[in-house]
């Protein structure tokens, strides 16, 4: 589950991680109030307006309707009014959103951190994530901040450092110091960085993050170390022990069909193809998508109905898939183990009859316990449903349907 920048920063503050302070605003009026407050606090006329969407590249991205960038530096109340009114409600298209873009419902009006001072300003990169191979958390960091880290890793891999954290002892002092030294820091900035990294790691573990990225990690001209931006992902499996975090989910950022599917306990991912599919088991569901492609179609979705493929789940699955007008055929692929295929077949028939007018070919492949009885049920139902037992037979039927 991904969080917005403003949500992530609020959480980091609880772990004493210094962040670029700001206010989340949904109206121009709120943005103006935020600006006045920031101006009073900092004594600076500069402030930053940042669109809050679940995608990166906001600064270079632009609002479709008026071309304004998703991150703007304001130096007056008039600027704030202009930026807030143009960004709020607009559709922001960035390198990560795709052409459709994302509607901006909130902006973050934040203090400017790039003020003048006695020492040089610097931008670094730091993220914490899981190293799957080692089974340990790893802190990845670089002196090259504010840029796309994948480009840095590709062009100058020597500029990326990694520090693995042993699960039994946690992050050690020497490791935090090593990070600060490798970033070239000294004096107050060094001390601040050691504290920053230590507290950030505690936040990562305490919040059960799946990913925590600070880019840029900023050294201000007064040697403060600050998270100017923050991308935070939470481990959904851990939300059972973080009721407060579960409520931070923003469903407007998600595909509405996927949200709807979730309500029926269906695991659904929307894709762009023309053949819908409904499968039990995640691995078999992915394999079925692959088979659709090899048969000349394109998968319209990933849908895992889980262990209980009954009339209710099949009906919910049908409804969700049929919402997509691009779908030209549906393949149901169930390997019945503990679930009996004849029960699933009856579920398909009931759901089909209940929905009435399904005008596209339905292919049902049932294999496993009572597969033959299941095929007979489907074949004798009088419905326009094609049945198969072998996966290769199902592939042939898909081929015909999309031809």
């Amino acid at each position: 589950m991904n969080l917005h920048e403003y949500q992530a920063k609020e959480l980091l503050k609880k772990y004493n991680v210094p962040v670029q302070e700001g206010f989340a605003c949904t109206t121009v009026q709120e943005a103006e109030d935020a600006y006045r407050q920031i101006k009073t606090q900092t004594g600076s006329k500069f402030a930053v307006v940042k669109a809050q969407i679940h995608a990166g590249g906001r600064g270079k991205g632009a609002i479709k309707e008026n071309g304004i960038n998703g991150v703007k530096v304001a130096k007056s109340l008039e600027d704030i009014q202009e930026f807030a009114s143009k960004i709020l409600g607009g559709t922001l298209v960035t390198i990560q959103t795709g052409e459709a873009g994302k509607v901006v419902n909130k902006i973050y009006v934040a203090a400017d951190m790039y003020y003048d001072g006695p020492t040089e300003r610097k931008e670094f990169y730091l993220s914490i994530l899981l190293d799957r191979t080692k089974g340990q958390n790893v802190i990845m960091y670089s002196t090259e901040g504010g840029m796309n880290i994948e480009d840095v890793a590709h062009d100058t891999p020597e500029k990326i450092f990694k520090e693995w954290v042993h699960p039994s002892g946690g992050l050690q002092g020497f490791q935090a110091r090593k990070i600060a030294f490798n970033l070239g820091l000294s004096g107050e900035a060094f001390k601040n960085c050691v504290k920053f990294v230590t507290n950030l790691y505690n936040a990562y573990v305490g919040l059960d993050c799946s990913m925590l990225e600070i880019n840029p990690l900023f050294k201000a001209s007064d040697d403060k170390i600050i998270a100017v931006d923050c991308k935070m992902g939470l481990d959904e499996n851990s939300l059972m022990r973080h009721a407060d975090l579960a409520s931070l989910r923003d469903v407007t950022e998600e595909d509405p069909t996927e949200v709807e599917a979730g309500k029926h306990n269906l695991n659904f991912v929307k894709l762009d193809g023309n053949v819908g599919c409904m499968v039990n088991g995640a691995g078999l569901a992915m394999a079925t998508m692959d088979m659709i492609k090899l048969s000349g179609g394109e998968p319209a979705n990933f849908l895992d109905v889980g262990g209980s493929a009954n009339a209710q789940t099949v009906e919910a699955g049908f409804k969700i898939i049929l919402k997509d007008p691009a779908v030209k055929a549906i393949l149901i692929n169930i390997f019945g183990g503990i679930v009996r295929c004849d029960r699933v077949a009856q579920g398909v028939i009931d759901a089909y009859q209940k929905l009435g007018n399904i005008n596209i070919p339905i292919i049902v492949r049932l294999q496993g316990t009572n597969a033959v009885e299941a095929k007979k049920l489907i074949d004798e139902s009088g419905l326009k449903v094609q049945s198969a037992i072998l996966l290769s037979e199902a592939a042939d039927l898909v081929k015909k349907a999309v031809a």
């Binding site: 191979t133 089974g135 340990q136 699960p167 059960d208 059972m240 078999l284 992915m286 072998l390």
Partner: protein
């Protein structure tokens, strides 16, 4: 012989009296698995399915000599259950539970280091040695006895492969569902290694999916060890979009190396017979064995 479990395995069930534990323990007993007892803290001293219940794993092991544990404990307590089994010296722990927080598994993986316990899973269908012992939730009848080993990240796709192998006139020695989570106890390579060294296994089906680097690691190991037995491979998720989690917690394309295409390329380069359609697994295995 086969691997991991056989007719001599003594199996205990953690989360014995819960809905899942009860249902699948019953199925395992029907299959012929020697279930010797179970653990539900607070219910020790009683019996369930005619088997004794214990409060702790160590009590159960002492009284029954159990050497395999299967875990049906809910996700919030599953990591603790794995460590309890390891502490009691259980040789093989199979964790079925789906949805364990990944930081819990970081701890478990560290805890198991230096211990003799092998963990299979979590988020897996379990292990089955055909006609001898089922420690899992798979439908037993699909696994006809034979000399093909299966290693797979996925449940129903394992059943699919076993069924195709049977339809090709072959059978299964042992099938291992290693699980679809980012951190698992027995990675692909370990399971492949066990099957390569098993005198009762002639060939291996290796089924992976997008995310992580376990299949590439296994493929490189197979090549470095001289491709002793033929391996048929399949990777699910060739059509999965990057950055989206496809059901399994670990099934997500993060970079260029963990796509299906990248894995299939490395596997083919290492001498694995890679099929692009999941419908061809059984057929390919028959072809490979015939050509040998």
């Amino acid at each position: 012989m086969s691997i991991l479990v056989n007719k001599n395995s003594k199996v205990l069930v953690q989360g014995f009296t819960g809905t899942e534990g009860t249902f699948h323990a019953t199925q395992m007993i029907e299959y012929g698995t020697n279930v010797v007892g179970g653990v539900t803290p607070g219910k020790g001293g009683g019996t369930h399915l005619d088997k004794p219940i214990f409060n702790t794993v160590v009590d159960c092991v002492k009284a029954t000599g159990a050497d395999v544990s299967i875990i049906f404990v809910p996700p919030a307590f599953a990591a603790d259950a794995i460590m309890e089994a390891a502490d009691a010296g259980v040789a093989l722990v199979v964790c079925i539970t789906e949805g364990i927080p990944v930081q819990d598994m970081v701890k478990v993986k560290n805890y198991l280091q230096g211990k003799t316990t092998r963990l299979i899973g979590p988020n897996c269908p379990g292990v089955i040695t055909s006609n001898e012992c089922k420690v899992g939730i798979m439908p037993g009848f699909i696994f006809k006895p034979g000399r093909i080993g299966i290693v797979s990240k996925s449940g129903t796709l394992t059943y699919e492969a076993a069924d195709q192998v049977a339809k090709a006139g072959l059978g299964i020695s042992t099938a291992v569902g290693i699980g679809g989570d980012p951190i698992i106890g027995t990675p692909t390579q370990d399971a492949v290694e066990l099957l390569m060294n098993d005198p009762e296994t002639d060939a291996i089906v290796m089924i992976g999916e997008i995310g992580g680097g376990m299949e590439a690691e296994a493929a490189n190991w197979i090549k470095a060890n001289g491709n002793k037995k033929p391996v048929v491979g399949f990777i699910a998720g060739q059509t999965a979009p990057p950055g989206r989690r496809m059901g399994h917690a670990g099934a997500i394309v993060g970079g260029a190396d963990d796509t299906a295409a990248a894995k299939m390329k490395i596997m083919a380069e290492c001498g694995i017979h890679v099929v692009s359609s999941p419908a061809d697994i059984g057929k390919k295995m028959a072809e490979v064995l015939k050509g040998k």
